[in-house]
């Protein structure tokens, strides 16, 4: 059995910042093809698209920047690094 992405994320060390979502999505964006590309692109599988609603959870973000490069100004409304000391902390990299 292949490992699920959730299992993989569970191996990482994260310091979750509930008060500050460092990435926000544009819910009024409606190009389904583009949204599906972003869903596919995120290595942490943090985006979803169901019943016309874009789901996104910034916790678990690997801070790669793929979603911004692919869809900044479209699906991705704002993108920043998390606050200092927050987010993922790789032990090996």
């Amino acid at each position: 059995m292949a490992m699920s992405i959730d299992d993989k994320l569970g191996l990482n060390r994260f310091r979750a910042d509930k008060s500050y979502p460092h990435i926000t999505v544009n819910q009024s964006f409606t190009d389904v093809k583009e949204i599906e590309r972003v869903v596919m692109a995120c290595p942490a599988k943090l985006y979803s698209y169901e019943n016309g609603v874009i789901g996104f959870n910034h916790e678990g973000c690997l801070e790669c920047g793929t979603c911004r490069v692919l869809s900044g100004g479209k699906v991705v409304e704002t993108w920043n690094h998390p606050q200092g000391g927050m987010g993922v902390e790789f032990r090996h990299g």
């Binding site: 292949a2 490992m3 992405i5 993989k8 994320l9 191996l11 990482n12 310091r15 093809k33 599906e36 590309r37 596919m40 692109a41 995120c42 290595p43 942490a44 599988k45 690997l62 801070e63 790669c64 920047g65 793929t66 911004r68 490069v69 692919l70 900044g72 920043n80 690094h81 998390p82 606050q83 200092g84 000391g85 987010g87 993922v88 902390e89 790789f90 032990r91 090996h92 990299g93």
Partner: protein, 431 residues
């Protein structure tokens, strides 16, 4: 930190570029502040895994004796894969490991703290767990940074903040990355134990390592491929794929990695291994043509932030280039401090030095490579062609003999002889 405190230089980012520069500048007596957003140095940093040592050797001769490198690469492999076959070329040679030319597998979480430690010993000051929110401007002039809500001042700011350099973008020195010029790398660290690695990869000792690239099926025909590096007791296993291609075929980058892990060539090598980390990171691959503005009054850009990375198809090279850029930025700033002048005119020496170094020479030399690599035939059709030729060569079941040349030509014709010639010429041209 009080507002009166003023540094000669603020370095943003404690990666390879930033730490190298910080070390050299501190050693020359400059007051250096390095600001890093990760809580522990290296905590945000990801690489594939292999560092060409020559540029760090210039600064720390014989560093591998002391630094936490994983293994010295003595074996290079490239595989062209279909779903269930692989044609593999191996090059094994002692001279791959010659002093000064050697390459090492490294893990940034282990390596970067060592380099930062050197800079700290030399007198550089580090603050970690603090994000630089923006570059501080007064009357349009760079005077420092705003970090963790505080203003910090310096004569010059060195942006070594990596591929997602929002700060170089803030200053208009760099455009947003173009999805055609950037790839995403997705990677696992798989713990296997030293002995198993030695056995499975034919290493005579835990000092010897393998670098292995995979082309073809892994990326489902998209521009990209897989990589494997042997670390001391773990493997770095991952894929890299161009962002613009995502959605072109129905295969997510995260699933490419699973596909690689399940391939019959790879599966037995990682069997019994335990995944201990999952990471993703961008790598620029636009080459020479995407290098941003490198200097302005009171500010320089180095490392990945300056896109000093080469994707050569058969290998990715960034670390030796970013270290060299850190060194040259440091030399420029040291000279500017002596002259008491941090204007663009003085800092332009950084660009001149880069132009005269192997960094720009190599990047110019390989400037056609990104276009060549964007050709989907390389990823879609050639691995299949290799498979057909090899299976004709090696598989015998009492069938009627057909001349090998004829069999090989059948495989080649599927790709198209003209395409093959054209791609061959372009490939040679790009080299």
């Amino acid at each position: 930190m009080s507002n009166e405190e003023r540094f000669d230089v603020i370095v943003v980012g404690a990666g390879l570029a930033g730490n190298t520069a910080a070390y050299l500048m501190a050693k020359a007596g400059l007051e250096v502040l390095v600001i890093e957003r990760a809580e522990t140095i290296g905590g945000k940093n990801v690489t594939g895994g292999r560092m060409y040592s020559h540029s760090l050797e210039k600064i720390f001769p014989d560093f591998a004796k002391e630094a936490p490198v994983e293994r010295k690469i003595t074996k290079e492999r490239i595989s062209f894969m279909t779903g269930d076959t692989a044609t593999t070329v191996e090059y094994a040679a002692d001279k791959l490991g010659e002093q000064g030319k050697a390459t090492y597998s490294i893990c940034r979480g282990h390596f970067d703290p060592w380099l930062a430690g050197k800079a700290e010993e030399a007198g550089a000051m580090y603050v970690t767990g603090i994000r630089v929110d923006e570059v501080l401007l007064q009357d349009g002039k760079v005077v420092g940074v705003i970090a963790g809500g505080e203003e910090m001042f310096a004569d010059v700011v060195l942006l070594a903040d990596g591929v997602n350099s929002l700060l170089a973008q803030q200053l208009g020195m760099k455009k947003e990355l173009d999805p055609h010029e950037v790839a995403v790398g997705v990677k696992e660290i798989i713990r296997l134990g030293e002995e198993k690695i030695n056995d499975r990869f034919g290493a005579a000792s835990s000092e010897e390592g393998t670098a292995w690239l995979f082309a073809g099926d892994v990326s489902g025909g998209n521009v990209g491929g897989g990589f494997l590096y042997t670390n001391k007791d773990s493997l770095s296993l991952g894929i890299v794929t161009t962002i613009a291609d995502i959605g072109r075929v129905d295969l997510a980058p995260r699933d490419m990695l699973e596909r690689l892990k399940a391939h019959p060539t790879v599966a037995p090598l990682i069997k019994g291994g335990e995944t201990i980390e999952y990471a993703a990171h961008l790598v620029t691959e636009g080459g020479y043509n995407m290098i941003p503005t490198l200097y302005r009054d009171n500010v320089l850009v180095a490392g990945d932030a300056a896109a000093l990375v080469m994707n050569l198809g058969f290998t990715i090279r960034g670390m030796d280039l970013v270290i060299e850029s850190g060194r040259l930025a440091a030399e420029t700033i040291i000279a500017a401090k002596e002259a008491g002048d941090y204007s663009a005119a003085t800092l332009s020496k950084y660009k001149t030095a880069l132009d005269n170094s192997f960094v720009m020479k190599d990047m110019k030399h390989f400037s056609k490579m990104p276009k060549f690599i964007e050709n989907h035939r390389i990823f879609e059709q050639y691995p299949g062609m290799m498979d057909e030729i090899m299976s004709e060569l090696f598989i015998m079941y009492g069938q009627e003999p057909v001349k090998f040349k004829k069999k090989a030509m059948t495989a080649v014709k599927k790709v198209g002889i003209m395409n093959l010639l054209k791609d061959g010429m372009n490939g040679l041209g790009a080299m």
